[in-house]
Symmetry: C2
Subunit: 173 residues, 2 copies
Amino acid sequence: AMEKSYVSMFLLLIAIPCTLAKDVGKKETKETTVKPKLPQTLSRGWGDQLIWTQTYEEALYRSKNSNKPVMIIHHLDDCPHSQALKKVFAEHKDIQKLAEKFILLNLVYETTDKNLSPDGQYVPRILFIDPSLTVRADITGRYSNRLYAYEPTDISLLYANMQKALKLLKTEL
Amino acid sequence: AMEKSYVSMFLLLIAIPCTLAKDVGKKETKETTVKPKLPQTLSRGWGDQLIWTQTYEEALYRSKNSNKPVMIIHHLDDCPHSQALKKVFAEHKDIQKLAEKFILLNLVYETTDKNLSPDGQYVPRILFIDPSLTVRADITGRYSNRLYAYEPTDISLLYANMQKALKLLKTEL
């Protein structure tokens, strides 16, 4: 007997617009026919010498086990704001050094956890999670309408926010 | 004001035992201090020349867009049964060729979607999802107590099951 289990997250699979972009002409995420360079890496250019986790579930598990906070970068390859931030992030030696103290994850597809989009699903968007598995919604950038967005010129603020995230919350039990 | 959003999936983060293994001595997944070889790849040795997706959400999105079925391999690095199956899978030319027709995902951490564990969270475990986003619970291996497990000697059955998965279901609308 054939058992059909429809996948529940179907409705959540919406394309993520690069809402910081001035060019609103291309909203659709296209499947390109160009093959990616093989093998594909988890860093995607955000720091090839750093250790990146594959999935959100892995990141949470490792955070809890290692007592390191999670840093999650949501981005898109065809979003110029994401690309510009990535360049600055990857070339910033202090950021790269400090990033070693985090469980790192970069994602181009949204998870189903709404805690990761407190004010929407725009990119680029950077969130921190404490090892107590609390989303640090208090660690924000400069833009009141997109609290977790950073422009390349905000890299020092991002660095300061990474330092803030490393001061772990006390677990309230 | 600090806003705390506790991550809901916390309780689901349980270690996955390699239930096919005869050696039941090491049940705990350990954080090793050994750094992985950099950069980490998405293939993890299951086929370095194939294109692998990073996350479940990405796999579903690409399946729907490309009309290819998803093949999800759950495995663990320290599970000898997973390792043995991987070796045979990676060296099997017909399997590797046929795998190009799938949206591929290999995972060492479970997702939160219960549709992916119809009879438990053991490894190795291989499931197919139709582009209509239906889990193909009807495509099974030889073991009645672990329907989606394959041993290296089952590689021909796995090949046949991949062919079966490529005959797409009609969407019932």
